[in-house]
């Protein structure tokens, strides 16, 4: 049951990416191209998704606990630190080069373009390295040092 509902959630997410046009990297890159033939669609995808999620989360949280887990597991940190900003900047750089972020990369996989078959394994490798690098001493700020 858990796996079936997990699959269904992923399927709906994937269909959302396709219907919204976000499964197409060209549409994403045209959103990021303010100086070209700008396609504002991505803004509408984010808008629709954030509004539904904002309302739905509040309904879900009112239930006290999730249906298939003991507790809600929501990040509590509000610290804007170096790994967050450096990571987001590197992600934006890669996103602007290829037009893929992780969700559309998965939905593009079964269409087997050479580009995605190159992108996805490197993304998985990077994810493994990046998640491991979150605690590197280099990235953890230790107060003000001059």
């Amino acid at each position: 049951m858990r796996n079936l509902l997990g699959f269904l959630s992923g399927l709906i997410f994937g269909l959302g990416l396709i219907v919204s046009g976000m499964a197409n990297p060209a549409k994403v890159l045209n959103f990021l191209d303010l100086a070209g033939h700008w396609d504002p669609s991505l803004g509408f995808v984010m808008g629709g998704a954030v509004v539904v999620t904002f309302l739905g989360y509040r309904l879900a949280w009112q239930q006290g606990a999730p249906i298939l887990a003991p507790d809600f597991d929501v990040p509590t940190s509000s610290r804007i630190d170096r790994p967050l900003i450096l990571g987001a900047a590197l992600f934006g750089l890669g996103w602007g080069i290829g037009g893929f972020c992780p969700g559309p990369a998965w939905t593009a996989l079964p269409l087997l373009s050479p580009g995605i078959l190159t992108f996805l394994p490197m993304m998985l490798l990077g994810l493994w390295l990046g998640a491991g690098g979150r605690n590197l001493p280099l990235l953890i700020s230790k107060g003000v040092r001059k």
């Binding site: 990297p25 309904l59 079964p110 998640a131």
Partner: protein, 152 residues
């Protein structure tokens, strides 16, 4: 990078697709109590095959979620839909892009869905900072590639 293909502005389809993405995010919260960030879910599923520092225990639903993402275009086509996509054929570029997206979302603990959709819906200041940063980096990257370097 790659050929520049003009795309039509699709406000209604994009709003509707966005609402479906939101529905999925709400399902993941209501069912599993988790944030539906694809980078995070992928990372959790990856723990099944690679040694991870803090891999979560329940990988089953995460793997199933990813299978759902992969099945989406196939089912869409099965029911007569067409999945339009233009993917760059610059393979060294795509390898670099994949590595950067992976390292960046791993290091920054989230992507367009985790920070962008779920984080903004939670009104998280961390996620807002991440979204502003990756959007700015994305705009700048595309500007440089298309308008300074001439498309590559």
């Amino acid at each position: 990078m790659g050929p520049i293909v003009e795309t039509d502005f699709t406000p209604w389809a994009s709003l509707a697709g966005g609402a479906l993405i939101g529905l999925s995010a709400v399902m993941v919260m209501a069912l599993f109590g988790k944030i539906a960030g694809i980078a995070g879910i992928t990372n959790g599923a990856l723990g099944a095959v690679l040694p991870m520092g803090v891999a979560p225990r329940d990988r089953g639903w995460r793997l199933a979620f990813i299978l759902g993402l992969i099945a989406a275009p196939l089912l869409y086509q099965l029911f007569g839909g067409t999945v339009v996509q233009t993917v760059s054929g610059n393979l060294p570029g795509m390898a670099l892009a994949g590595l950067l997206v992976g390292v960046g979302t791993g290091l920054g603990s989230g992507c367009t869905s985790g920070h962008g959709v779920c984080g903004l819906a939670r009104l998280s200041p961390r996620s807002l900072a991440a979204v502003l940063t990756f959007m700015a980096a994305g705009f700048l990257t595309v500007f440089v590639i298309r308008h300074v370097l001439g498309g590559i």
